[in-house]
Protein backbone atom coordinates (compact mmCIF):
# COMPACT_ATOMS: atom_id res chain seq x y z
CA UNK A 1 0.00 0.00 0.00
CA UNK A 2 1.37 3.38 -1.03
CA UNK A 3 0.20 6.30 1.12
CA UNK A 4 1.66 9.09 -0.97
CA UNK A 5 2.73 9.30 -4.62
CA UNK A 6 6.46 8.82 -5.21
CA UNK A 7 8.78 7.66 -8.01
CA UNK A 8 8.55 3.87 -8.21
CA UNK A 9 10.50 3.10 -11.38
CA UNK A 10 7.73 0.71 -12.42
CA UNK A 11 6.20 0.81 -15.91
CA UNK A 12 3.22 3.17 -15.96
CA UNK A 13 -0.24 1.70 -15.98
CA UNK A 14 -3.56 3.49 -16.29
CA UNK A 15 -5.02 1.13 -13.69
CA UNK A 16 -6.30 3.30 -10.83
CA UNK A 17 -4.29 3.27 -7.63
CA UNK A 18 -5.36 4.43 -4.18
CA UNK A 19 -3.32 6.91 -2.14
CA UNK A 20 -5.03 6.99 1.29
CA UNK A 21 -2.54 9.55 2.63
CA UNK A 22 -3.84 12.09 0.12
CA UNK A 23 -7.46 11.48 1.12
CA UNK A 24 -6.55 11.75 4.79
CA UNK A 25 -4.73 15.02 4.18
CA UNK A 26 -7.63 16.50 2.17
CA UNK A 27 -10.06 15.25 4.82
CA UNK A 28 -8.10 16.95 7.62
CA UNK A 29 -8.12 20.29 5.77
CA UNK A 30 -11.85 20.02 4.99
CA UNK A 31 -12.66 19.16 8.62
CA UNK A 32 -10.52 22.03 9.91
CA UNK A 33 -12.28 24.42 7.54
CA UNK A 34 -15.73 23.22 8.58
CA UNK A 35 -14.87 23.67 12.27
CA UNK A 36 -13.50 27.17 11.59
CA UNK A 37 -16.69 28.16 9.77
CA UNK A 38 -18.87 26.76 12.60
CA UNK A 39 -16.90 28.78 15.13
CA UNK A 40 -17.14 31.91 12.95
CA UNK A 41 -20.90 31.49 12.52
CA UNK A 42 -21.29 30.99 16.26
CA UNK A 43 -19.45 34.29 16.72
CA UNK A 44 -22.01 36.03 14.50
CA UNK A 45 -20.69 35.37 10.97
CA UNK A 46 -22.83 35.11 7.83
CA UNK A 47 -23.51 32.48 5.17
CA UNK A 48 -20.12 32.65 3.40
CA UNK A 49 -21.40 30.99 0.24
CA UNK A 50 -18.82 32.55 -2.11
CA UNK A 51 -16.00 31.86 0.38
CA UNK A 52 -17.04 28.23 0.64
CA UNK A 53 -17.11 27.94 -3.16
CA UNK A 54 -13.58 29.38 -3.43
CA UNK A 55 -12.24 27.13 -0.70
CA UNK A 56 -13.91 24.05 -2.17
CA UNK A 57 -12.43 24.84 -5.59
CA UNK A 58 -8.99 25.21 -4.05
CA UNK A 59 -9.36 21.98 -2.12
CA UNK A 60 -10.58 20.13 -5.22
CA UNK A 61 -7.58 21.34 -7.23
CA UNK A 62 -5.26 20.37 -4.39
CA UNK A 63 -6.76 16.89 -4.29
CA UNK A 64 -6.43 16.55 -8.09
CA UNK A 65 -2.80 17.62 -8.00
CA UNK A 66 -1.88 15.16 -5.25
CA UNK A 67 -3.91 12.08 -6.15
CA UNK A 68 -3.77 9.57 -9.03
CA UNK A 69 -3.09 10.14 -11.91
CA UNK A 70 -1.52 13.64 -11.75
CA UNK A 71 0.24 12.95 -8.46
CA UNK A 72 1.62 9.62 -9.62
CA UNK A 73 2.76 10.83 -13.06
CA UNK A 74 4.29 13.99 -11.60
CA UNK A 75 6.13 12.05 -8.92
CA UNK A 76 7.85 9.57 -11.16
CA UNK A 77 7.30 9.93 -14.88
CA UNK A 78 7.04 13.43 -16.36
CA UNK A 79 8.74 16.62 -15.20
CA UNK A 80 6.08 18.66 -17.01
CA UNK A 81 3.34 17.10 -14.87
CA UNK A 82 5.49 17.69 -11.80
CA UNK A 83 5.48 21.36 -12.85
CA UNK A 84 1.69 21.30 -13.18
CA UNK A 85 1.62 20.12 -9.56
CA UNK A 86 3.89 22.99 -8.54
CA UNK A 87 1.77 25.56 -10.35
CA UNK A 88 -1.36 24.20 -8.70
CA UNK A 89 0.05 23.80 -5.20
CA UNK A 90 2.24 26.90 -5.14
CA UNK A 91 0.36 29.45 -7.22
CA UNK A 92 -3.30 28.49 -7.76
CA UNK A 93 -4.52 26.60 -4.71
CA UNK A 94 -3.12 28.94 -1.97
CA UNK A 95 -4.97 32.13 -3.06
CA UNK A 96 -8.18 30.13 -3.49
CA UNK A 97 -7.84 28.67 0.01
CA UNK A 98 -6.93 32.05 1.53
CA UNK A 99 -9.80 33.89 -0.21
CA UNK A 100 -11.98 30.95 0.76
CA UNK A 101 -11.56 31.78 4.43
CA UNK A 102 -14.01 34.58 5.32
CA UNK A 103 -12.39 37.69 6.83
CA UNK A 104 -14.21 37.14 10.13
CA UNK A 105 -12.88 33.57 10.25
CA UNK A 106 -9.29 34.78 10.51
CA UNK A 107 -10.27 36.22 13.90
CA UNK A 108 -11.16 32.68 14.95
CA UNK A 109 -7.79 31.11 14.06
CA UNK A 110 -6.02 29.62 17.07
CA UNK A 111 -3.74 32.23 18.73
CA UNK A 112 -0.75 29.89 18.58
CA UNK A 113 -1.14 29.53 14.82
CA UNK A 114 -1.45 33.29 14.46
CA UNK A 115 1.68 33.78 16.56
CA UNK A 116 3.58 31.66 14.03
CA UNK A 117 1.91 33.12 10.93
CA UNK A 118 2.26 36.79 11.80
CA UNK A 119 6.08 37.04 11.51
CA UNK A 120 6.35 34.43 8.76
CA UNK A 121 3.84 36.19 6.50
CA UNK A 122 5.58 39.56 6.56
CA UNK A 123 6.19 40.37 2.88
CA UNK A 124 10.01 40.22 2.92
CA UNK A 125 10.06 36.95 4.83
CA UNK A 126 7.26 35.42 2.77
CA UNK A 127 8.78 36.39 -0.57
CA UNK A 128 12.31 35.29 0.32
CA UNK A 129 11.34 32.00 1.89
CA UNK A 130 8.95 31.02 -0.93
CA UNK A 131 11.41 31.77 -3.70
CA UNK A 132 14.31 30.07 -1.94
CA UNK A 133 12.07 27.08 -1.37
CA UNK A 134 11.06 26.98 -5.04
CA UNK A 135 14.68 27.09 -6.18
CA UNK A 136 15.69 24.47 -3.62
CA UNK A 137 12.90 22.07 -4.54
CA UNK A 138 13.86 22.25 -8.22
CA UNK A 139 17.53 21.37 -7.70
CA UNK A 140 18.20 17.97 -9.36
CA UNK A 141 19.86 16.26 -6.35
CA UNK A 142 16.97 17.35 -4.13
CA UNK A 143 14.29 16.23 -6.58
CA UNK A 144 16.00 12.91 -7.40
CA UNK A 145 16.56 12.09 -3.74
CA UNK A 146 13.22 13.20 -2.32
CA UNK A 147 10.92 11.97 -5.08
CA UNK A 148 12.19 8.42 -4.63
CA UNK A 149 10.42 8.07 -1.27
CA UNK A 150 6.90 8.76 -0.08
CA UNK A 151 8.21 10.84 2.80
CA UNK A 152 10.44 12.90 0.51
CA UNK A 153 7.66 13.40 -2.03
CA UNK A 154 5.32 14.43 0.79
CA UNK A 155 7.96 16.93 2.00
CA UNK A 156 8.17 18.56 -1.44
CA UNK A 157 4.37 18.80 -1.72
CA UNK A 158 4.09 20.33 1.75
CA UNK A 159 6.90 22.80 1.03
CA UNK A 160 5.10 23.94 -2.12
CA UNK A 161 1.70 24.25 -0.48
CA UNK A 162 2.99 25.78 2.76
CA UNK A 163 5.36 28.09 0.90
CA UNK A 164 2.54 29.10 -1.45
CA UNK A 165 0.23 29.98 1.45
CA UNK A 166 2.95 32.09 3.08
CA UNK A 167 3.75 33.78 -0.27
CA UNK A 168 0.12 34.68 -1.03
CA UNK A 169 -0.77 35.73 2.52
CA UNK A 170 0.43 39.37 2.20
CA UNK A 171 -1.55 39.66 -1.06
CA UNK A 172 -4.78 37.96 -0.03
CA UNK A 173 -5.07 38.39 3.74
CA UNK A 174 -5.03 41.67 5.65
CA UNK A 175 -6.02 40.59 9.07
CA UNK A 176 -5.22 39.67 11.71
CA UNK A 177 -1.48 39.76 11.03
CA UNK A 178 -1.80 43.30 9.74
CA UNK A 179 0.87 42.60 7.15
CA UNK A 180 -1.15 43.11 3.99
CA UNK A 181 0.54 45.21 1.35
CA UNK A 182 -0.89 48.30 -0.28
CA UNK A 183 -2.18 47.69 -3.80
CA UNK A 184 0.79 49.01 -5.75
CA UNK A 185 3.15 47.16 -3.45
CA UNK A 186 1.17 43.98 -4.14
CA UNK A 187 1.70 44.45 -7.87
CA UNK A 188 5.42 44.94 -7.31
CA UNK A 189 5.54 41.93 -4.98
CA UNK A 190 3.91 39.69 -7.58
CA UNK A 191 6.04 41.12 -10.40
CA UNK A 192 9.21 40.39 -8.47
CA UNK A 193 8.22 36.74 -8.32
CA UNK A 194 8.40 36.55 -12.12
CA UNK A 195 11.97 37.84 -11.98
CA UNK A 196 12.95 35.56 -9.11
CA UNK A 197 11.79 32.49 -11.03
CA UNK A 198 13.85 33.25 -14.14
CA UNK A 199 16.90 31.19 -13.09
CA UNK A 200 14.77 28.05 -12.65
CA UNK A 201 13.01 28.67 -15.98
CA UNK A 202 16.33 29.18 -17.79
CA UNK A 203 17.87 26.14 -16.12
CA UNK A 204 14.99 23.87 -17.08
CA UNK A 205 14.43 25.19 -20.58
CA UNK A 206 17.95 25.66 -21.86
CA UNK A 207 19.88 22.79 -20.28
CA UNK A 208 21.65 20.68 -22.87
CA UNK A 209 20.62 17.44 -21.19
CA UNK A 210 17.81 16.33 -18.89
CA UNK A 211 18.74 17.31 -15.35
CA UNK A 212 16.54 14.99 -13.31
CA UNK A 213 17.48 11.31 -13.23
CA UNK A 214 13.99 10.58 -11.91
CA UNK A 215 12.40 11.65 -15.20
CA UNK A 216 15.25 10.83 -17.58
CA UNK A 217 15.38 7.20 -16.48
CA UNK A 218 11.66 6.76 -15.85
CA UNK A 219 9.78 4.16 -17.89
CA UNK A 220 8.34 5.93 -20.91
CA UNK A 221 4.75 7.10 -20.57
CA UNK A 222 4.62 8.84 -23.96
CA UNK A 223 6.80 9.48 -26.99
CA UNK A 224 7.97 12.79 -25.59
CA UNK A 225 11.71 12.81 -24.92
CA UNK A 226 13.09 13.51 -21.44
CA UNK A 227 14.64 16.76 -22.66
CA UNK A 228 11.46 17.99 -24.35
CA UNK A 229 9.52 17.09 -21.22
CA UNK A 230 11.89 19.18 -19.10
CA UNK A 231 11.73 22.07 -21.57
CA UNK A 232 7.95 21.92 -21.42
CA UNK A 233 8.17 22.10 -17.63
CA UNK A 234 10.35 25.20 -17.86
CA UNK A 235 8.06 26.89 -20.37
CA UNK A 236 5.00 26.11 -18.26
CA UNK A 237 6.67 27.60 -15.22
CA UNK A 238 7.31 30.80 -17.18
CA UNK A 239 4.16 31.12 -19.29
CA UNK A 240 1.51 29.67 -16.97
CA UNK A 241 3.19 31.30 -13.99
CA UNK A 242 3.04 34.66 -15.78
CA UNK A 243 -0.64 34.19 -16.64
CA UNK A 244 -1.45 33.37 -13.02
CA UNK A 245 0.46 36.40 -11.76
CA UNK A 246 -1.19 38.67 -14.37
CA UNK A 247 -4.62 37.39 -13.34
CA UNK A 248 -3.71 38.02 -9.72
CA UNK A 249 -2.55 41.56 -10.57
CA UNK A 250 -5.83 42.09 -12.42
CA UNK A 251 -7.75 40.90 -9.37
CA UNK A 252 -5.76 43.27 -7.15
CA UNK A 253 -6.68 46.22 -9.40
CA UNK A 254 -10.33 45.21 -9.52
CA UNK A 255 -10.58 45.01 -5.73
CA UNK A 256 -8.72 48.28 -5.43
CA UNK A 257 -11.02 50.13 -7.81
CA UNK A 258 -14.08 48.57 -6.19
CA UNK A 259 -12.89 49.75 -2.76
CA UNK A 260 -12.17 53.26 -4.03
CA UNK A 261 -15.59 53.39 -5.68
CA UNK A 262 -17.18 52.39 -2.37
CA UNK A 263 -15.12 55.02 -0.55
CA UNK A 264 -16.24 57.73 -2.99
CA UNK A 265 -19.93 56.86 -2.78
CA UNK A 266 -20.05 56.33 0.99
CA UNK A 267 -20.08 60.06 2.04
CA UNK A 268 -22.75 60.90 -0.58
CA UNK A 269 -25.05 58.17 0.74
CA UNK A 270 -24.38 59.21 4.33
CA UNK A 271 -25.03 62.91 3.71
CA UNK A 272 -28.89 62.93 3.68
CA UNK A 273 -28.96 61.06 6.99
CA UNK A 274 -26.52 63.54 8.51
CA UNK A 275 -28.52 66.49 7.19
CA UNK A 276 -31.72 65.02 8.58
CA UNK A 277 -30.25 64.95 12.08
CA UNK A 278 -30.22 68.51 13.46
CA UNK A 279 -28.11 67.37 16.46
CA UNK A 280 -25.03 66.73 14.25
Amino acid sequence: MQWWCSAQGEPWTWAWQAYPGVWLFIGIIATGYARLLRRTRAAGGGAFRSSIALFATGLLLLWLSLDWPIGAIGAGYLASVHMVQFLLMGLIVPPLLLYGIPEQAYEQLPPRLLAVLTPVTRPVVAFTSFNLMVILTHLPPVVDTLMATQLGSFAIDMLWLGGGIIFWWPVCVGTPGGSQLRELAKVGYLGLYLIAMKPVFIYLTFSRFPQYATYELAPRISNISARADQQMAGLMMEVVGMIIILLAVGAVFLRWSAREARAETAPVQAAPAALADPQR
Binding site: T118, P119, V120, V125, L136, R208, P219, R220, N223, A226
Partner: protein, 365 residues
Protein backbone atom coordinates in the same frame (compact mmCIF):
# COMPACT_ATOMS: atom_id res chain seq x y z
CA UNK B 1 11.96 43.82 12.25
CA UNK B 2 13.75 41.56 14.72
CA UNK B 3 10.80 39.18 14.65
CA UNK B 4 10.91 39.12 10.84
CA UNK B 5 14.57 38.22 10.84
CA UNK B 6 13.99 35.54 13.43
CA UNK B 7 11.10 34.18 11.38
CA UNK B 8 13.20 34.11 8.22
CA UNK B 9 16.00 32.30 10.02
CA UNK B 10 13.53 29.86 11.52
CA UNK B 11 12.02 29.18 8.10
CA UNK B 12 15.35 28.51 6.47
CA UNK B 13 16.29 26.25 9.36
CA UNK B 14 12.98 24.39 9.09
CA UNK B 15 13.36 24.00 5.31
CA UNK B 16 16.88 22.69 5.72
CA UNK B 17 15.75 20.24 8.40
CA UNK B 18 12.95 18.89 6.21
CA UNK B 19 15.35 18.38 3.34
CA UNK B 20 17.95 16.76 5.57
CA UNK B 21 15.35 14.38 6.98
CA UNK B 22 14.19 13.58 3.45
CA UNK B 23 17.72 12.93 2.27
CA UNK B 24 18.45 10.71 5.26
CA UNK B 25 15.19 8.87 4.73
CA UNK B 26 16.46 7.47 1.48
CA UNK B 27 18.89 5.33 3.44
CA UNK B 28 22.14 3.53 2.77
CA UNK B 29 21.14 2.31 -0.67
CA UNK B 30 20.96 5.85 -2.01
CA UNK B 31 24.21 6.65 -0.26
CA UNK B 32 25.84 3.68 -1.98
CA UNK B 33 24.48 4.85 -5.31
CA UNK B 34 25.90 8.30 -4.73
CA UNK B 35 29.26 6.84 -3.78
CA UNK B 36 29.28 4.64 -6.87
CA UNK B 37 28.46 7.63 -8.98
CA UNK B 38 31.25 9.69 -7.43
CA UNK B 39 33.67 6.84 -8.08
CA UNK B 40 32.47 6.58 -11.66
CA UNK B 41 32.98 10.29 -12.21
CA UNK B 42 36.46 10.18 -10.74
CA UNK B 43 37.59 7.78 -13.47
CA UNK B 44 38.39 8.75 -17.00
CA UNK B 45 35.21 7.22 -18.39
CA UNK B 46 31.68 7.35 -17.01
CA UNK B 47 31.11 3.72 -18.04
CA UNK B 48 32.58 0.72 -16.22
CA UNK B 49 35.92 -0.24 -17.75
CA UNK B 50 36.68 -3.92 -18.20
CA UNK B 51 39.98 -4.96 -16.65
CA UNK B 52 40.36 -7.58 -19.39
CA UNK B 53 39.05 -6.27 -22.74
CA UNK B 54 37.45 -8.87 -24.99
CA UNK B 55 37.66 -9.06 -28.79
CA UNK B 56 34.54 -8.43 -30.78
CA UNK B 57 32.54 -11.65 -31.18
CA UNK B 58 32.29 -12.88 -34.76
CA UNK B 59 28.70 -13.61 -35.77
CA UNK B 60 26.30 -12.98 -38.58
CA UNK B 61 22.62 -12.34 -37.88
CA UNK B 62 19.82 -10.99 -40.05
CA UNK B 63 19.25 -7.26 -39.97
CA UNK B 64 15.82 -5.64 -39.85
CA UNK B 65 15.75 -5.37 -43.65
CA UNK B 66 16.33 -9.10 -44.08
CA UNK B 67 20.01 -8.86 -45.06
CA UNK B 68 22.82 -10.79 -43.39
CA UNK B 69 24.76 -8.58 -41.01
CA UNK B 70 28.33 -9.57 -40.31
CA UNK B 71 28.96 -7.89 -36.98
CA UNK B 72 32.76 -7.74 -37.20
CA UNK B 73 32.87 -6.60 -40.80
CA UNK B 74 30.04 -4.11 -40.64
CA UNK B 75 31.29 -2.39 -37.50
CA UNK B 76 35.00 -2.59 -38.17
CA UNK B 77 36.94 0.52 -37.21
CA UNK B 78 33.95 2.18 -35.53
CA UNK B 79 32.87 2.70 -31.99
CA UNK B 80 30.12 0.10 -31.59
CA UNK B 81 27.44 0.10 -28.92
CA UNK B 82 25.82 -3.32 -28.63
CA UNK B 83 22.63 -3.94 -26.67
CA UNK B 84 20.42 -6.98 -26.20
CA UNK B 85 16.78 -6.07 -25.64
CA UNK B 86 13.24 -6.41 -26.91
CA UNK B 87 10.74 -3.98 -28.36
CA UNK B 88 7.96 -4.87 -25.88
CA UNK B 89 10.25 -3.83 -23.02
CA UNK B 90 8.42 -1.26 -20.88
CA UNK B 91 11.38 0.33 -19.14
CA UNK B 92 15.10 -0.37 -19.66
CA UNK B 93 15.32 -0.85 -23.44
CA UNK B 94 13.43 2.28 -24.58
CA UNK B 95 15.20 4.44 -21.99
CA UNK B 96 18.66 3.23 -23.08
CA UNK B 97 17.83 3.73 -26.75
CA UNK B 98 16.22 7.13 -26.21
CA UNK B 99 19.18 8.43 -24.21
CA UNK B 100 21.78 7.30 -26.74
CA UNK B 101 19.69 8.68 -29.60
CA UNK B 102 19.29 12.05 -27.91
CA UNK B 103 23.04 12.39 -27.45
CA UNK B 104 23.86 11.11 -30.95
CA UNK B 105 21.62 13.74 -32.51
CA UNK B 106 23.57 16.37 -30.63
CA UNK B 107 27.00 15.22 -31.83
CA UNK B 108 28.71 16.58 -34.94
CA UNK B 109 27.89 14.60 -38.09
CA UNK B 110 31.44 13.21 -38.56
CA UNK B 111 31.40 11.88 -34.99
CA UNK B 112 27.93 10.37 -35.49
CA UNK B 113 29.22 8.48 -38.52
CA UNK B 114 31.93 6.85 -36.43
CA UNK B 115 29.36 5.25 -34.13
CA UNK B 116 27.29 2.13 -34.74
CA UNK B 117 24.42 1.27 -32.41
CA UNK B 118 23.43 -2.38 -32.78
CA UNK B 119 20.33 -3.78 -31.08
CA UNK B 120 20.03 -7.56 -30.95
CA UNK B 121 16.54 -8.78 -30.23
CA UNK B 122 16.27 -11.01 -27.18
CA UNK B 123 12.70 -11.79 -28.19
CA UNK B 124 12.90 -12.79 -31.87
CA UNK B 125 9.41 -14.32 -31.90
CA UNK B 126 7.67 -11.01 -31.25
CA UNK B 127 10.32 -8.70 -32.74
CA UNK B 128 9.56 -9.04 -36.42
CA UNK B 129 11.78 -7.13 -38.88
CA UNK B 130 8.96 -4.61 -39.41
CA UNK B 131 8.55 -4.11 -35.68
CA UNK B 132 12.29 -3.61 -35.23
CA UNK B 133 12.34 -1.07 -38.06
CA UNK B 134 9.42 0.83 -36.60
CA UNK B 135 10.60 0.72 -32.99
CA UNK B 136 14.24 1.63 -33.64
CA UNK B 137 13.26 4.24 -36.23
CA UNK B 138 11.46 6.19 -33.53
CA UNK B 139 14.79 6.69 -31.77
CA UNK B 140 17.35 7.17 -34.54
CA UNK B 141 17.47 6.25 -38.24
CA UNK B 142 20.99 4.84 -37.96
CA UNK B 143 20.19 2.24 -35.29
CA UNK B 144 20.59 -1.31 -36.55
CA UNK B 145 18.27 -4.08 -35.39
CA UNK B 146 19.36 -7.71 -35.65
CA UNK B 147 17.48 -10.97 -35.29
CA UNK B 148 18.59 -14.55 -34.89
CA UNK B 149 17.38 -17.67 -33.19
CA UNK B 150 17.39 -17.49 -29.40
CA UNK B 151 20.16 -20.13 -29.44
CA UNK B 152 22.31 -17.86 -31.61
CA UNK B 153 21.62 -14.90 -29.34
CA UNK B 154 22.48 -16.93 -26.24
CA UNK B 155 25.72 -18.11 -27.88
CA UNK B 156 26.72 -14.50 -28.45
CA UNK B 157 25.80 -13.61 -24.88
CA UNK B 158 27.86 -16.53 -23.59
CA UNK B 159 30.85 -15.42 -25.66
CA UNK B 160 30.53 -12.01 -24.04
CA UNK B 161 30.24 -13.66 -20.59
CA UNK B 162 26.70 -12.35 -20.15
CA UNK B 163 23.74 -14.31 -18.78
CA UNK B 164 21.36 -15.93 -21.28
CA UNK B 165 17.90 -14.63 -22.10
CA UNK B 166 15.20 -15.82 -19.68
CA UNK B 167 11.52 -15.85 -20.65
CA UNK B 168 8.79 -15.34 -18.04
CA UNK B 169 5.43 -17.06 -17.79
CA UNK B 170 2.93 -16.29 -20.53
CA UNK B 171 -0.10 -14.49 -19.09
CA UNK B 172 -3.74 -14.81 -20.22
CA UNK B 173 -3.21 -12.09 -22.84
CA UNK B 174 -0.20 -13.88 -24.30
CA UNK B 175 2.29 -11.40 -22.85
CA UNK B 176 5.47 -12.45 -21.15
CA UNK B 177 8.52 -10.79 -19.70
CA UNK B 178 12.03 -11.20 -21.09
CA UNK B 179 14.98 -11.17 -18.74
CA UNK B 180 18.12 -9.94 -20.47
CA UNK B 181 21.43 -8.23 -19.80
CA UNK B 182 20.65 -4.57 -19.11
CA UNK B 183 24.04 -3.10 -19.93
CA UNK B 184 25.20 -1.55 -23.19
CA UNK B 185 28.52 -2.90 -24.41
CA UNK B 186 30.96 -0.44 -25.95
CA UNK B 187 33.50 -1.80 -28.44
CA UNK B 188 36.23 0.69 -29.17
CA UNK B 189 37.24 1.24 -32.83
CA UNK B 190 40.06 -1.30 -32.42
CA UNK B 191 37.43 -4.02 -32.00
CA UNK B 192 37.67 -4.66 -28.28
CA UNK B 193 34.94 -4.61 -25.68
CA UNK B 194 36.34 -2.19 -23.13
CA UNK B 195 33.39 -0.57 -21.36
CA UNK B 196 29.95 -1.46 -20.11
CA UNK B 197 27.16 0.99 -19.39
CA UNK B 198 24.58 -0.20 -16.88
CA UNK B 199 21.00 0.98 -16.77
CA UNK B 200 21.07 4.40 -15.15
CA UNK B 201 23.64 5.85 -17.52
CA UNK B 202 22.56 9.43 -18.17
CA UNK B 203 22.66 11.44 -21.37
CA UNK B 204 25.35 13.66 -19.87
CA UNK B 205 27.47 10.52 -19.29
CA UNK B 206 27.03 9.36 -22.88
CA UNK B 207 27.91 12.81 -24.20
CA UNK B 208 31.24 12.74 -22.38
CA UNK B 209 32.17 9.15 -23.21
CA UNK B 210 31.04 8.95 -26.83
CA UNK B 211 33.32 11.80 -27.81
CA UNK B 212 36.24 10.20 -25.99
CA UNK B 213 35.56 6.72 -27.32
CA UNK B 214 35.35 7.68 -30.98
CA UNK B 215 38.93 8.87 -30.76
CA UNK B 216 40.05 6.03 -28.52
CA UNK B 217 43.78 5.48 -28.19
CA UNK B 218 45.53 2.76 -26.21
CA UNK B 219 46.50 3.97 -22.75
CA UNK B 220 49.94 5.48 -22.39
CA UNK B 221 52.51 2.94 -21.25
CA UNK B 222 50.93 0.04 -23.13
CA UNK B 223 53.53 -2.68 -23.73
CA UNK B 224 55.35 -2.45 -27.06
CA UNK B 225 54.69 -6.09 -27.82
CA UNK B 226 50.95 -5.74 -27.33
CA UNK B 227 49.10 -7.94 -29.83
CA UNK B 228 48.03 -6.16 -33.01
CA UNK B 229 44.44 -4.97 -33.04
CA UNK B 230 42.17 -5.72 -36.00
CA UNK B 231 42.02 -2.04 -36.92
CA UNK B 232 45.82 -1.96 -37.21
CA UNK B 233 45.70 -4.45 -40.06
CA UNK B 234 44.32 -2.59 -43.06
CA UNK B 235 43.17 -4.81 -45.92
CA UNK B 236 42.71 -3.53 -49.45
CA UNK B 237 39.73 -4.60 -51.56
CA UNK B 238 40.08 -8.32 -52.31
CA UNK B 239 39.91 -9.53 -55.93
CA UNK B 240 38.65 -12.90 -57.04
CA UNK B 241 39.12 -13.87 -60.70
CA UNK B 242 36.09 -15.59 -62.17
CA UNK B 243 36.84 -19.28 -61.59
CA UNK B 244 36.78 -21.77 -64.41
CA UNK B 245 33.65 -23.92 -64.25
CA UNK B 246 32.68 -25.17 -60.78
CA UNK B 247 36.28 -25.22 -59.57
CA UNK B 248 37.80 -23.32 -56.67
CA UNK B 249 38.50 -19.61 -56.85
CA UNK B 250 41.66 -17.73 -55.89
CA UNK B 251 41.50 -14.60 -53.75
CA UNK B 252 44.12 -11.87 -53.82
CA UNK B 253 44.50 -9.06 -51.35
CA UNK B 254 47.06 -6.80 -49.72
CA UNK B 255 47.09 -6.21 -45.95
CA UNK B 256 49.13 -3.33 -44.55
CA UNK B 257 50.21 -3.66 -40.94
CA UNK B 258 50.21 -0.57 -38.72
CA UNK B 259 50.80 -2.70 -35.63
CA UNK B 260 53.91 -2.59 -33.46
CA UNK B 261 54.13 -6.38 -33.27
CA UNK B 262 54.23 -9.11 -35.92
CA UNK B 263 51.27 -11.32 -36.69
CA UNK B 264 50.44 -14.29 -38.89
CA UNK B 265 47.65 -14.82 -41.38
CA UNK B 266 46.36 -18.31 -40.64
CA UNK B 267 43.23 -18.59 -42.76
CA UNK B 268 39.99 -16.95 -43.84
CA UNK B 269 36.23 -17.38 -43.79
CA UNK B 270 33.50 -16.38 -46.17
CA UNK B 271 29.89 -17.36 -46.68
CA UNK B 272 30.41 -18.06 -50.38
CA UNK B 273 32.84 -20.93 -49.75
CA UNK B 274 32.61 -23.97 -47.54
CA UNK B 275 36.36 -24.01 -47.02
CA UNK B 276 39.17 -21.51 -47.47
CA UNK B 277 42.82 -22.53 -47.66
CA UNK B 278 45.98 -20.50 -47.57
CA UNK B 279 48.34 -21.46 -50.36
CA UNK B 280 51.86 -20.62 -51.44
CA UNK B 281 54.32 -21.73 -54.10
CA UNK B 282 57.33 -23.86 -53.24
CA UNK B 283 60.10 -25.50 -55.20
CA UNK B 284 60.23 -29.29 -54.99
CA UNK B 285 62.93 -31.12 -56.97
CA UNK B 286 63.39 -28.17 -59.26
CA UNK B 287 59.67 -27.81 -59.91
CA UNK B 288 57.42 -25.03 -58.59
CA UNK B 289 54.39 -26.51 -56.91
CA UNK B 290 51.46 -25.05 -55.02
CA UNK B 291 51.13 -26.18 -51.40
CA UNK B 292 48.84 -25.53 -48.50
CA UNK B 293 50.31 -23.34 -45.73
CA UNK B 294 49.53 -23.04 -42.02
CA UNK B 295 50.35 -19.34 -41.91
CA UNK B 296 52.02 -16.38 -43.56
CA UNK B 297 53.76 -13.78 -41.39
CA UNK B 298 53.06 -10.07 -41.62
CA UNK B 299 55.70 -7.79 -40.17
CA UNK B 300 55.08 -4.47 -38.37
CA UNK B 301 54.96 -1.59 -40.80
CA UNK B 302 55.07 -3.95 -43.77
CA UNK B 303 52.43 -5.28 -46.14
CA UNK B 304 51.36 -8.83 -46.79
CA UNK B 305 50.60 -9.35 -50.47
CA UNK B 306 48.47 -12.22 -51.70
CA UNK B 307 48.91 -12.18 -55.45
CA UNK B 308 49.12 -14.40 -58.54
CA UNK B 309 52.30 -16.53 -58.42
CA UNK B 310 52.69 -15.98 -54.64
CA UNK B 311 50.66 -16.42 -51.52
CA UNK B 312 46.91 -16.52 -52.08
CA UNK B 313 43.69 -17.89 -50.64
CA UNK B 314 41.75 -20.66 -52.34
CA UNK B 315 37.97 -20.72 -51.95
CA UNK B 316 36.71 -24.30 -52.10
CA UNK B 317 33.18 -25.71 -52.16
CA UNK B 318 31.64 -22.54 -53.54
CA UNK B 319 27.99 -22.11 -52.61
CA UNK B 320 27.19 -20.74 -56.05
CA UNK B 321 28.86 -19.95 -59.32
CA UNK B 322 30.71 -16.64 -58.98
CA UNK B 323 30.17 -14.10 -61.71
CA UNK B 324 32.06 -10.91 -62.49
CA UNK B 325 30.68 -8.08 -60.41
CA UNK B 326 29.62 -10.26 -57.44
CA UNK B 327 30.69 -8.91 -54.06
CA UNK B 328 31.00 -10.59 -50.67
CA UNK B 329 32.82 -10.23 -47.37
CA UNK B 330 35.87 -12.24 -46.48
CA UNK B 331 37.23 -12.44 -42.95
CA UNK B 332 40.98 -12.91 -42.73
CA UNK B 333 41.99 -14.83 -39.64
CA UNK B 334 45.16 -13.56 -37.91
CA UNK B 335 46.75 -15.50 -35.09
CA UNK B 336 46.98 -12.54 -32.68
CA UNK B 337 44.66 -9.84 -33.98
CA UNK B 338 41.77 -12.17 -34.72
CA UNK B 339 39.43 -11.57 -37.64
CA UNK B 340 39.77 -8.68 -40.06
CA UNK B 341 36.99 -8.17 -42.59
CA UNK B 342 37.43 -7.06 -46.18
CA UNK B 343 35.14 -6.59 -49.15
CA UNK B 344 35.76 -8.84 -52.15
CA UNK B 345 34.78 -8.39 -55.75
CA UNK B 346 34.74 -10.97 -58.52
CA UNK B 347 36.55 -9.74 -61.63
CA UNK B 348 37.54 -11.16 -65.03
CA UNK B 349 40.93 -12.85 -64.87
CA UNK B 350 42.40 -10.39 -67.33
CA UNK B 351 41.81 -7.51 -64.91
CA UNK B 352 43.64 -9.00 -61.91
CA UNK B 353 47.08 -7.45 -62.47
CA UNK B 354 45.59 -4.04 -63.19
CA UNK B 355 43.35 -4.12 -60.11
CA UNK B 356 46.13 -5.27 -57.78
CA UNK B 357 48.47 -2.56 -59.07
CA UNK B 358 45.75 0.01 -58.50
CA UNK B 359 45.11 -1.17 -54.97
CA UNK B 360 48.83 -1.14 -54.18
CA UNK B 361 49.07 2.42 -55.45
CA UNK B 362 46.16 3.34 -53.18
CA UNK B 363 47.85 1.61 -50.30
CA UNK B 364 51.01 3.61 -50.97
CA UNK B 365 49.01 6.77 -50.41
Amino acid sequence: MKRSRAALAALLLAGGTVLWVGLRAVGPEAQAQRDARRAMEAREYRGAELPDPMPKPAFTLTDMYGHPFDFVAETDGRLTLLFFGFTNCPDICPVHMANIAAVLKDLPQPVQQQIRVVFISADPDRDTPEKLQQWLGVFHPSFIGLRGSIEEVNDILAELRLPPVVFGEVDERGNYSVGHAAQILAFTPDGYLRLMYPFGTRQADWAVDLLKLTSWEPPAGAPADAPPRPSQLRPSMAYVPVPAGEGPAALYITVASRAAAPDTLVGAHTRVAGRVELHGHAERDGTMIMERLDGVPVQPGDSLRLMPGGYHLMLHDLTHRLAAGDTFTVELEFRRAGRVAARSVVIPYSAVERMLSASERQEGH
